[in-house]
């Protein structure tokens, strides 16, 4: 590093030129164009949404476990009392509303913004040695579009109709005909949802353009493609997924808006007849018909399958950064991971119809999608395997981020592997729309992605704030969360396989044949332990799972406290590189200034050079020239240097 100071000084003078005057508060922290501030904005907003989504889920889980018990005051406190039944119970409508919004908020307002918006924004430019994103003002615009979308979604709870209630997938004609009993269709939750989605999609599209441009064009000197940290690769692929998959959903949203507000029938088939239950008057709808509900499903899943990879890739990427750092070895198979993630980015677009096996597509088409779906598990498994094998023979440091990362691996594995049976047409006929599917993707997103995101928060916290998060509280956060997550989701596989439908708002009390199957015989050990000796039935798992939801809820308090406490009171980080990591972001000062780097960042080597023989430390950062560093990509490097570089 030292060798470059002289050239960097000139650069530095330049960098500081425009920054002698302080920006006013609102420009610095609110309408900021600095990628780090925007990252924090994304992060905070998304965390708030995650907690809102969590709350909605708690109400739902209450209704499932205790359909006949009044909603407890802690939960009822936050909701509009007129949504409750006259017994104080959660109604089916309320459950539907919260279910739809739980999914929407978690996916589009929680995880994607946190993973892509927050981590992507904060880390990517730092890791490639860029002063900022390629289009800083566009970056700000995407945050505010996201914010607007979020506000619309939240505002929809205040409307007389309540928020949207047709599932996070908003299938037509269900979604088109929901809330038709309102006086003004513009001001219904369904309509707000669509407008909100249009904002969120625009936000993601702008973000994707920005990320891809940044990664392609703003890499610093020496940062060749194969020297990019895996995180950056994952962001590049994620960017492409968003860029190309989201527009069809935007189209679907616009079409559904036309159906709702202009009386079109894009998604309404001819002769659709209503019984009069729900919000639609009995009889034929006053529309032309001739549309196709399948069209909506195609457009939706054309987005939504790539979207699930948008949910998982950033988490894998974060874990991919943390693992080499904490095993003090290069990650095993960097190149295969890079190619695997590219293949994923491609295949993710051609598997979408595996969500639609039950719609009666043709055999050949089903077979095609079955084949691609099975194939897509190969790159997923490569990623996972590389990370697992990396552990072998490493000297593992069990830091808090590493704990989360380690837990991520098997949890993601669970989720991924249980996806395979779903890929098969025939098995899916049985499992579709059961709790099995819920368990499948929640294993990936909840103990998977969310653990990865927590890992990232603990890992990059010192870079963002200059302070470490508290270790003990970190453990107090991790262990209960790990146990609770499994307590919630593991039983779902069992329930799902025995036929529990995913949309029962009362946990299935009216489906005796399915729900009263015996899990543990009368008088058996568990029966004695939990039910005074009476047999434990399948439906009793509902109470079990809901219990762990409360545990999970309580387990988040140490995190919230830790987060805010550490910002102000945390232990000072030990230098700019407290984890002794190798990637470029650790060469920037903590709380990096506008423009990020003090010295010009240069990548002299690959991203994960840990325990390289011949160095006194067990890590050799990318920005350290050492005696074998070379700047690739500028002129043809000498043959032997190229060999050393990777």
């Amino acid at each position: 590093m030292g060798a470059e100071v002289s050239t960097a000084e000139a650069e530095e003078a330049h960098v500081h030129d425009d920054h002698h005057h302080e920006l006013p508060f609102w420009k610095k922290y609110i309408f900021s164009t600095d990628h780090k501030i925007i990252g924090y904005q994304y992060g905070i907003t998304a965390l708030i949404f995650l907690f809102i989504g969590f709350y909605l889920m708690m109400v739902m889980r209450w209704s499932i476990a205790h359909p006949d018990k009044e909603l407890p005051a802690v939960l009822a406190f936050f909701l509009n009392k007129s949504w409750l039944s006259d017994q104080g119970l959660v109604t089916g409508d309320l459950y539907n509303m919260f279910g739809a919004m739980h999914g929407t908020i978690m996916v589009f307002l929680g995880i994607v913004p946190l993973a892509f918006g927050a981590f992507g924004n904060f880390v990517t430019p730092l890791q490639i040695g860029a002063p900022d994103m390629a289009f800083p003002r566009l970056n700000m615009a995407s945050y505010w579009a996201y914010y607007l979308g979020g506000i619309l979604m939240l505002a929809s709870f205040l409307l007389p109709s309540g928020a949207a209630e047709a599932g996070w997938t908003m299938y037509s004609p269900l979604a088109t005909t929901a809330q038709l009993d309102e006086v003004n269709l513009w001001f219904t939750g369904q309509t707000f949802w669509l407008f909100g989605m249009v904002c969120l999609i625009s936000s993601s599209l702008l973000g994707a353009v920005n990320f891809i441009s940044t990664i392609i064009n703003l890499r610093c000197r020496g940062m060749t493609w194969m020297r990019m940290p895996f995180f950056v690769w994952a962001m590049l692929v994620t960017g492409f997924l968003l860029l190309l998959a989201f527009p069809p959903l935007e189209v679907a949203a616009v079409m559904q808006l036309m159906d709702r507000l202009a009386g079109a029938s894009f998604f309404i088939p001819t002769g659709l007849n209503f019984s009069g239950a729900g919000s639609v008057d009995a009889g034929l709808l006053d529309v032309a018909g001739g549309g196709s509900p399948l069209l909506f499903q195609h457009l939706f899943w054309f987005l939504a399958h790539p979207e699930v990879y948008v949910l998982i890739l950033p988490a894998i990427a974060i874990v991919g950064e943390i693992i080499p750092n904490n095993i003090r070895r290069p990650v095993w198979g960097y190149k295969s991971m890079v190619y695997a993630v590219m293949v994923l980015g491609f295949l993710a677009f051609i598997v979408w119809a595996h969500h639609m096996y039950l719609t009666g597509m043709g055999n050949v088409v089903s077979t095609f999608f079955q084949a691609t779906t099975v194939i897509i598990s190969i790159p997923s498994v490569i990623l996972l395997t590389c990370l697992f094998i990396s552990l072998w023979g490493g000297s593992i440091r069990f830091t808090v981020p590493m704990l989360w990362a380690l837990a991520f691996l098997p949890m993601f594995g669970f989720g991924g592997l249980t996806g395979l049976p779903l890929a098969f047409n025939l098995i899916d006929l049985h499992l579709h729309d059961t709790y099995y599917v819920i368990a499948h993707f929640h294993y990936i997103v909840a103990p998977g992605t969310i653990f990865g995101l927590f890992a990232g928060i603990y890992y990059w916290f010192p870079k963002a704030t200059g302070r470490m998060m508290n270790n003990k509280l970190g453990h107090l956060h991790f262990w209960p969360s790990l146990i609770a997550m499994n307590g919630i989701f593991l039983p779902m596989f069992v329930q799902g396989m025995s036929g529990f439908h995913r949309r029962w708002y009362d946990g299935g009390v009216n489906y005796d044949e399915i729900t009263s199957r015996i899990l543990f015989e009368e008088g058996s050990f568990f029966a004695n332990l939990f039910k005074d000796g009476r047999a434990i039935e399948m439906i009793d798992l509902n109470v079990f799972m809901t219990f762990f939801v409360w545990v999970l809820c309580i387990a988040q308090f140490p995190f919230i406290f830790n987060f805010f406490h550490s910002i102000f009171r945390g232990r000072k980080a030990d230098g700019d590189n407290p984890w002794r990591a190798t990637t470029l972001e650790w060469s920037a000062p903590n709380c990096p200034p506008h423009g990020n780097f003090v010295n010009e960042p240069i990548a002299y080597r690959g991203p994960y050079e840990y325990s390289v023989p011949g160095y006194k430390d067990d890590y050799t950062p990318q920005f350290e020239r050492g005696n074998d560093g070379v700047i690739l990509g500028e002129e043809d490097p000498p043959a032997d240097a190229a060999k050393n570089a990777h």
């Binding site: 399948l294 195609h298 043709g362 088409v365």
Partner: protein
């Protein structure tokens, strides 16, 4: 891209020529549509026109490889989007339209 004034003048001419071809093609489509309302011919002419716009006006004929990569990737999925939704309506095994 061309930067000397002479080259720019040359490009100017090219653009006008392409413009005229495009106008001619537009007339052609209308005429063809009057004679035989064939979907294929209409789309072929449109594709030709679109190709001209993309290649000449948008300089795709001489772009950087990175742009080509992005566009090839995109067009691939564009085609997928066009045809797979279509494909799902048919069952080639039974070779009939499934409603």
């Amino acid at each position: 891209m061309a930067d000397t004034p002479e080259e720019i003048q040359k490009h100017l001419k090219l653009y006008w020529k392409v413009g005229i071809i495009l106008l001619a093609c537009t007339v052609l489509t209308v005429v063809v549509a009057k004679v035989t309302p064939s979907i294929t011919v209409g789309l072929l002419i449109a594709t030709f026109k679109a190709g001209l716009v993309a290649a000449i006006f948008m300089h795709l004929s001489a772009e950087k490889p990175m742009i080509y990569k992005i566009m090839v990737y995109t067009v691939f999925f564009f085609i997928g989007l066009m045809f797979l939704t279509l494909l799902t309506m048919y069952d080639p095994a039974v070779s009939r339209v499934v409603n």
